[in-house]
Each structure stands twice: as structure tokens, then as C-alpha cells.
């Protein structure tokens, strides 16, 4: 075999290795979801969704955790959405190329890489203790809001960046002020992109466990939160709690709850992708 044939042969070997690696990721994803479905799908019924947690696996349900997750999701959206989008607008439209912008940019990039559990420590100290909110839905939501803020800001910036300069020029040329241009032209034009980013960020928040454990969210909450100041649990913590129990029945519960959690995550991702595709078409 001469060198060229050897090189061709290596090339083919690598190609199959590449296909193998790519497929193995997807196969694992499938095995993994399949396994969880087998473990948990029989456990899912209406009672499982509406039952309170219980000492006995077969009587336990996810009601309080599900409601807790919805509370957290709602409050986090209310807090992180306006702040994140406003910060994104500022960075993209106002603070271009000054010193502050450079500082903000490196700072946000760094925040995006801070482990989520560190946000938990921040929330524990600032929201739970100093602001005296206790282990409440509000404290949890504030913590998660800070956690997803960098994601919302970055995706807002990218969405705004994609708006053609010609649209801005046209608006300014008609005598619109900067804010009028942003409000009437840029935001509507970049809305789909911003929405995509926010939904993806929220889908991350819905799956977060560690920071909420640190701020003191409970594994066992016998009631649904009635106000932002109530104690709470969320789906991932409920799952974590069930995984840590030795009885087989709880593993089944955990699998069933995971199916529901994954369902929520995938649906949110699906919606995000839908908005992105719809929005991207607009510029093509």
C-alpha cells in the first residue's frame, strides 16, 4: 500500500469514527429517554399530578412541586425579562464602544460561566438573610433571575444586532428619536429573537436544582404556595429527593416526574425553535 492509499484509508476510517461518535450521542439520548419512559410512564396518571407528596411512594404526587415550578417560572419571567431586555438594549444601542461597555461585556461573559450553585450562595446571603425574604418563592425567583440574566442579555443583543441598519436609518431620517426608533422599529423587528432567548433561558431555569436547594427550597412541602412569600418546592428538587430514597417505588416516582419535567423542557425548547425559525425567515 503506498502513502496515498494509506492516507485515503485513514480518511475513510476517520469518517466512520466521526459517524460513530455523532450517532453515539444520539443513541445515548434515545436509550436514556427510553429507559426513563419504561421506568416511569406507568406511574403517570391524573392522581400523580394532583397528589401531594407523601411518605408512601404510591400515594405521592407532584402537585406541590409542579405548582412551585410554575410560581418560580412566572416570577422569574416577570423579574428577568424586563431587566435583561433593558440591559441588552442598553449594551447594543447606547453603550457602544465606551469603557463601560467593555467592562459590562467581560462581566456578563464571566457571569454566564459562574456555576449555578454560586448564585445559590449569593441568593442565600442577600435575599434570604439580608433582605429577610426567607426560603420563599420570591427569594428563589430572584436568585434564578440573576442566573438567567446573562442569557437573556446576550440573546437580546444578538436579536437586535440582526436588525438591518437600513431600518434604523430610515426611522432616524424621518425624525424619530433614539427611543422611538427602538420602541417602534427595533423591538418589533427583533421580538422573535428576543422571545427565543427568553424562553430558552426560562427552560434552563425550570430545570435548575442546586441554587434553589442552597436558598432553602424544601423537598417536602405539603401545600401549594399562595403568595410570593410562601415556602416552596420545585420539580427538580422533588425528583432529587425521590432519587435519594432507597425504596424502589420512589425511583419509579422520580422517573415519572422526570418524564413530566423533560416534557416541559422540550416543549419550551420546541416553542423557542419555532419562534426562531419564524423570525429568521423574516430576514431572508
Amino acid at each position: 500500500m503506498n502513502n496515498i492509499q494509506k492516507n485515503r484509508w485513514k480518511d475513510q476510517v476517520f469518517k466512520f469514527w466521526g459517524i460513530f461518535c455523532t450517532v453515539i450521542g444520539l443513541v445515548l439520548l434515545t436509550i436514556f429517554i427510553g429507559d426513563i419512559l419504561i421506568d416511569g410512564i406507568r406511574r403517570i396518571d391524573w392522581d400523580f399530578i394532583t397528589d401531594l407528596p407523601s411518605r408512601k411512594a404510591e400515594n405521592s404526587g407532584i402537585y406541590t412541586a409542579l405548582m412551585g415550578s410554575i410560581w418560580i417560572l412566572a416570577l422569574t419571567t416577570i423579574i428577568a425579562f424586563p431587566v435583561g431586555v433593558a440591559a441588552g438594549i442598553y449594551l447594543e444601542e447606547y453603550a457602544k464602544n465606551n469603557k463601560l461597555a467593555g467592562l459590562l461585556e467581560i462581566n456578563i461573559s464571566n457571569l454566564a460561566g459562574v456555576p449555578s450553585i454560586i448564585y445559590g450562595l449569593l441568593g442565600l446571603e442577600v435575599f434570604v438573610r439580608i433582605m429577610n425574604l426567607g426560603a420563599s418563592v420570591l427569594a428563589g425567583s430572584l436568585t434564578l433571575s440573576l442566573l438567567i440574566l446573562p442569557i437573556v442579555i446576550v440573546s437580546t443583543r444578538e436579536a437586535i444586532k440582526a436588525v438591518p441598519q437600513s431600518i434604523k436609518d430610515a426611522s432616524f431620517a424621518l425624525g424619530a428619536s433614539k427611543w422611538q426608533t427602538i420602541w417602534h422599529q427595533i423591538l418589533p423587528a427583533s421580538g422573535g429573537g428576543i422571545l427565543t432567548g427568553v424562553i430558552l433561558a426560562l427552560s434552563r431555569a425550570v430545570g435548575e436544582t442546586a441554587p434553589l436547594i442552597v436558598v432553602g427550597a424544601l423537598a417536602y412541602v405539603p401545600f401549594v404556595p399562595q403568595s410570593p412569600m410562601d415556602e416552596f418546592s420545585v420539580m427538580p428538587i422533588q425528583i432529587f429527593n425521590w432519587i435519594s430514597r432507597p425504596q424502589a417505588g420512589f425511583i419509579e416516582n422520580a422517573a415519572a416526574a422526570i418524564i413530566i419535567l423533560l416534557g416541559i423542557t422540550f416543549i419550551m425548547n420546541g416553542i423557542a425553535v419555532y419562534f426562531r425559525n419564524k423570525w429568521q425567515k423574516k430576514w431572508k
Binding site: N2, N3, I4, Q5, N7
Partner: protein, 275 residues
């Protein structure tokens, strides 16, 4: 196992025939009724031509006429384009290069290519020129060294860069970069060099240097060059082919094409009435 370039007989099928000087009169490149599609789009609509060894052939025509596509058939660079399909036969040194068992890598050693924009690798000047030898698995340092020097000398770059061979190829000027890319091609000792508008990104002085170089290279190589510049075609080429909408309108000695074209379309184009 190591291939020594001094012994071309050891190399693959494509090379064997060039050693035989009796083949000099037979065409270097020969195409028969070539048709090319990109998905549904018919880019080349049945072209036959033959190119003689040690000549410079210029492909001219308006943008989108298929001249670049046609050129890139000769070293099978279109193979990577999605939806590409081909009908017809292309023979180089008498061998059909689109036959199943043809080794594309071997073919490209034989048929070198210089691109529109200078595209040196982000490596040193030396490594740029040595690249083709290294990927063939040649490890003989002396041989590589000699070949790098002789290639740089051939393109007239040696005196300019001999003291900084370790410098990045990207640090050179545009014209120097393009000559580096030609040197890189020469280093693997092809017998055909394809040039896809090699001077379109260069200033007039660099262009003149490259044209001068092409003139010299003709002694050893068969050169096919795509150009937008009709003066350039008339200055450097022996033969000129005029393409229009995927067809070969006229192919003749350059002198004839520019002084006495047979077809009306050719005349319109070279006199600047369209294109």
C-alpha cells in the same frame, strides 16, 4: 514506504504517461461532450475541447458563463459542491479522470491549482511550500528543503523571503502571497496548473510579475487560466476559449480570437459590447 519524486514510474496511473515524450503531440487535456448540473441547474451544456501540452490556454467569458466550473472539473474540485453531477468524459494524459478507481489525491498532485484570492495557509512560508510534500508522507528533509528553495526561486520569491522563511505566509503582500501559492503548487511538481483568475485580487505591478511568471512556466507546464481581463488573455495565452451561458462558443489560437473571431458573440464580447 516512501515515494521519491525522482522516480515518477512508481507513482500512480495518471503519471506514467507524461514521461513518454511521444505523447507530447496528443492532447494533455481532452473533454468530450461535458455536461454539468448543480441540482436542476445545467451549468455546462456539452463542451468538447482538447488542450495541447506546454501551452497557455485562457478561458474568457462573462460572469456565470461556466468557465470556472469547467476549469475546476480538471482537478475534480467540484466534487465537494452539493448537488454536483457530471456527464461526459474528461481525459488527462489519456486517462479518464472521472473513472471509478481514479485516485483524486493523486490526480491533484498532477493537476495543481491556483485560486482567485491568494490563500496561503496560516503557517510559515517554508511550511506553506512544503505542505504538499509533507502530506504525501515525504520525510526526507534535504529533498523538502531543496524543493522549497527551487520552487520559491521559480516564482521569483526566493530573494525576497530567503531570510524569513519562518515568517507567516499571511505576513506577505497580496502579490507575494499569490506567488507563494504558485510556489506551493510547483513544489509537488504537477504537469498542469489551473489558475482561476489568479490576478483579479492584485495590483497592476503584482499582476505583471505573475504574467511574466506564467510565460516562463509554460516551458515546463501546461497552464489553463480563467480570466476576466481580456488584455491579459491576449498577452499571455496561446489559445483562448470563449464561454457563454454554459457553452463553448469559440476556441482557437488567441491571435485568431482577438483579431478575427468567427462568431458574432465572441466579437461582441471582446469588443466590450456586453459582459
Amino acid at each position: 514506504m516512501e515515494i521519491t519524486m525522482e522516480n515518477p514510474k512508481k507513482k500512480g496511473v495518471v503519471l506514467d504517461s507524461i514521461v513518454d515524450t511521444s505523447l507530447k503531440k496528443t492532447p494533455k487535456i481532452e473533454t468530450k461532450n461535458i455536461k454539468v448540473w448543480y441540482e436542476e441547474f445545467n451549468a455546462i451544456k456539452g463542451i468538447s475541447m482538447s488542450i495541447k501540452p506546454n501551452t497557455v490556454t485562457a478561458f474568457i467569458g462573462p460572469s456565470g458563463c461556466g468557465k470556472s466550473t469547467f476549469l475546476r472539473l480538471f482537478n475534480r474540485m467540484n466534487d465537494y459542491v452539493d448537488g454536483f453531477s457530471l456527464e461526459g468524459k474528461i481525459k488527462i494524459n489519456g486517462q479518464n479522470i472521472y473513472k471509478k478507481n481514479v485516485n483524486v489525491e493523486e490526480l491533484r498532485k498532477e493537476v495543481g491549482m491556483v485560486f482567485q484570492k491568494p490563500n496561503p495557509f496560516p503557517k510559515s512560508i517554508f511550511d506553506n511550500v512544503a505542505y504538499g510534500l509533507k502530506i504525501q508522507g515525504i520525510k526526507d528533509k534535504q529533498l523538502i528543503n531543496d524543493r522549497v528553495i527551487s520552487s520559491l526561486k521559480q516564482v521569483g520569491l526566493w530573494e525576497e523571503v530567503k531570510d524569513d522563511l519562518k515568517k507567516s505566509g499571511l505576513a506577505l503582500s497580496g502579490g507575494q502571497q499569490q506567488r507563494l501559492c504558485i510556489a506551493r503548487t510547483l513544489a509537488v511538481e504537477p504537469s498542469i496548473i489551473l489558475m482561476d483568475e489568479p490576478t483579479s485580487a492584485l495590483d497592476p505591478i503584482s499582476t505583471a510579475k505573475i504574467e511574466e511568471l506564467i510565460f516562463q512556466l509554460k516551458q515546463k507546464y501546461t497552464i489553463v487560466i480563467v480570466t476576466h481581463n481580456m488584455q491579459q488573455a491576449s498577452r499571455i495565452s496561446d489559445y483562448t476559449a470563449f464561454f457563454y451561458l454554459g457553452e463553448l462558443i469559440e476556441f482557437n489560437k488567441t491571435k485568431n480570437i482577438f483579431t478575427n473571431p468567427e462568431k458574432k458573440q465572441t466579437e461582441n464580447y471582446i469588443t466590450g459590447r456586453f459582459g
